[in-house]
């Protein structure tokens, strides 16, 4: 079992809801401080986005975050090399689109992730049908590939993608792209329940989590939440790493109260 999965299972099995905030690599000069602030605020892992020019699963906020990072000269290599010296103990998961690792070469990308202390990867435009080459490149490296489950995935697809998923299963709360939403819909409990029937991997829900209330609502039927747009908006609006951390601490309290 990979480091990421072991860590998340242990925390989940101890009765804790998982909280995994997201940061766009290179969004600001002090984006590594943002990760440190997440850890201090009680995050269980951090999703680190390697920005891509054409993020089709992302709404306006994360598009803007990606654009800002790219304009600052961010590349896959700058993100990974800056992560190399990072002094945090929670696992890091990279999230990016297929062309980024494809261009670098899957094998090379995996090696760089490992050298940077990354333990998981999320590539939303690589469904399991297209996953063989990537899986082969990962081989037995300690890098868990996290698969996304959609509210409209058939039971058959859920079974297959769950079987290929390592670390956790990323449940998508909505039909649509990333972005803040005021409420968590009925799909969340439905999808979390369906995935939990198939697997004992942690099931963590993301997309649309924007407040302590929505975090609690999505964490209740699942094992935890991923939060992205709400924090990226805060940073885009000039908020500091500490403010991002304070927001994550609010979410922590909300899901710990469950």
């Amino acid at each position: 079992m990979g480091t990421l999965e072991k860590h998340l299972r242990e925390r989940r099995d101890s009765g804790r809801k998982l909280l995994m905030p997201y940061v766009t690599g290179g969004i600001t000069d002090d984006w590594l401080d943002v990760i440190r602030a997440y850890e201090d605020a009680g995050a269980d892992g951090v999703e680190v986005n390697i920005p891509f020019s054409d993020p089709v699963m992302d709404g306006p906020t994360i598009q803007a975050a990606s654009d800002q990072a790219l304009r600052r000269g961010t590349t896959p290599r700058t993100v990974l090399s800056e992560l190399r010296g990072l002094d945090v103990s929670i696992p890091l998961i990279v999230m990016t689109y297929a062309n980024i690792p494809f261009r670098m070469g899957y094998r090379r990308f995996v090696e760089e992730c490992i050298q940077s202390g990354v333990h998981g990867a999320i590539i939303p435009d690589v469904p399991y049908e297209e996953m063989d080459a990537w899986e082969e490149a990962v081989g037995d490296a300690d890098l868990d590939t996290v698969m996304l489950a959609s509210p409209i995935s058939s039971d058959e697809r859920l079974a297959k993608l769950t079987a290929r998923s390592r670390g956790f299963v990323y449940g998508v709360n909505v039909l649509g792209v990333t972005g803040e939403r005021s409420e968590v819909g009925t799909w969340t409990a439905d999808l979390a329940g369906r995935v939990k029937q198939i697997t004992d991997l942690p099931v963590v829900m993301g997309f649309g989590i924007s407040s302590p209330e929505t975090a609690a609502a999505a964490a209740a039927p699942s094992d935890g939440v991923i939060v992205a747009s709400a924090i990226m908006r805060l940073l885009l609006d000039g908020g500091s790493a500490l403010e991002a951390g304070a927001f994550v601490a609010d979410l922590r309290r909300a899901i710990d109260g469950l």
Partner: protein, 394 residues
């Protein structure tokens, strides 16, 4: 690789696994995989269903005006020292080849019980065709168009709105075709239960490159018969402009098993086959203009319909097999060709197929005495205002 380069009949046949050699695939988020599979399944069913084919053929004939004629260009042939035949897709209803694909996909959407079409458009021709089919079949229609393209193709924006479609501007990135595709895919992810994505070129995730090619195959099939009727033989060269590659793949499909040389013509500022390297964007692996880090680069072309950094995966495959070759021409050469055809034949071409003519004109020595079939994919009405601005007073 499973393809045999020499066996012509293995090229441009069925695509059971969505792969064209090492290109193609279905790189879409999980939410869209089921939808792509449904489109493939329904398309295969429909394509084997005589009633569906009859309905489509009827619309192509009685509504779109097919078959489109084949025109022998006497004066321009003389001037260039070769024999130029034009496949007149410009004479189709809505003014381009795009209607072939759209009528097929709109009927398919109806068959799947979808009440809404979403599309991207560059020059606006695919958007106009989609809006037209939506009006014809009573479907809702939303078209995404880059803000830059909305400016340079104002007339088509108005036409789409007149036809009852909603046109939404894509304000991100280069604000051209690539960004319109991004927005259309984002829309589809959110609306997939009620909406069919009517993709406008032979690109995107499987089954689109395959399906769009089959829907444009009519161009090549007709042209082959027309060439045989006229000359009793196949042309020496078949050429077409390549943006995503739908009009080119349509006409190539009729001649892939002949000795005709197949030549795709890209804009110099968007030569994905010519200057791209393999990449994954918009659902498939193909040649792509991108930087060393994998960020997609912005294409730059006078022609909104070819202003795209990628290309359909089957063209990448044909290029790699050597079955087709890809040339590129500059905006200046295109403007010359645009005027040349207008003056010598009384046909104002769209800027897109003017690319193919620009190559023919430049390669006239190599082509001397040969019969060249050029797919005139669209008419130039939409471009006249833009060209007038560039050329000024004539």
């Amino acid at each position: 690789m499973t393809t045999t380069p020499t066996a012509a009949d293995s090229i441009m046949g069925d695509v059971p696994d969505g792969r064209f050699g090492r290109f193609g695939g279905q790189f879409v988020p999980e939410t869209l995989v089921g939808a792509c599979q449904e489109v493939e399944h329904e398309f295969r069913d429909a394509w084997a269903d005589e009633a569906f084919r009859g309905r489509l053929d009827g619309l192509l004939r009685d509504y779109a005006g097919r078959p489109s004629p084949l025109t022998l260009c006497d004066r321009l042939s003389d001037e260039l020292g070769l024999r130029l035949l034009l496949k007149r897709e410009d004479l189709n209803h809505t003014g381009s080849h795009k209607i072939n694909n759209v009528l097929g996909q709109a009927l398919l959407a109806q068959r799947m019980g979808k009440e809404r079409l979403v599309a991207e458009t560059g020059a606006g021709q695919h958007g106009v065709a989609t809006a037209t089919a939506a009006a014809l079949l009573g479907l809702d229609c939303v078209v995404y168009m880059g803000a830059v393209d909305m400016e340079r193709q104002k007339l088509n924006v108005f036409r789409m709105r007149l036809l009852g479609a909603e046109v939404r501007s894509a304000e991100t990135g280069s604000r051209t075709l690539k960004d319109a595709v991004n927005e259309a895919m984002r829309d589809w992810v959110a609306t997939v239960e009620s909406t069919h994505y009517c993709l406008g070129s032979a690109m995107g995730p499987h089954p689109y490159p395959f399906m769009v090619r089959e829907l444009h195959r009519v161009i090549g099939t007709e042209a082959r018969e027309q060439c045989l009727a006229l000359d009793g033989r196949d042309p020496d060269v078949v050429t077409a402009c390549v943006g995503g590659g739908s009009n080119a793949i349509g006409i190539f499909s009729g001649f892939v098993d002949t000795d005709a040389e197949l030549v795709g013509v890209e804009p110099a500022g968007g030569a994905a086959v010519g200057r791209g390297v393999p990449g994954i964007v918009h659902g498939s692996t193909s040649f792509l203009l991108q930087d060393d880090h994998g960020q997609v680069q912005e294409a730059e072309s006078i022609s909104a319909g070819l202003d795209y950094p990628g290309v359909g995966p089957e063209h990448a495959h044909l290029a790699e097999l050597g079955r087709a070759r890809y040339e590129s021409v500059t905006d200046g050469e295109v403007l010359d060709a645009f005027q040349l055809l207008s003056r010598t034949e009384g046909i104002i071409p769209a800027l897109e197929p003017a690319h193919a003519l620009a190559w023919v004109s430049r390669a006239r020595e190599e082509l001397a005495g040969k019969t060249v079939l050029l797919n005139l994919s669209g008419r130039g009405d939409k471009d006249v205002a833009q060209v007038a601005e560039i050329l000024g007073e004539l």
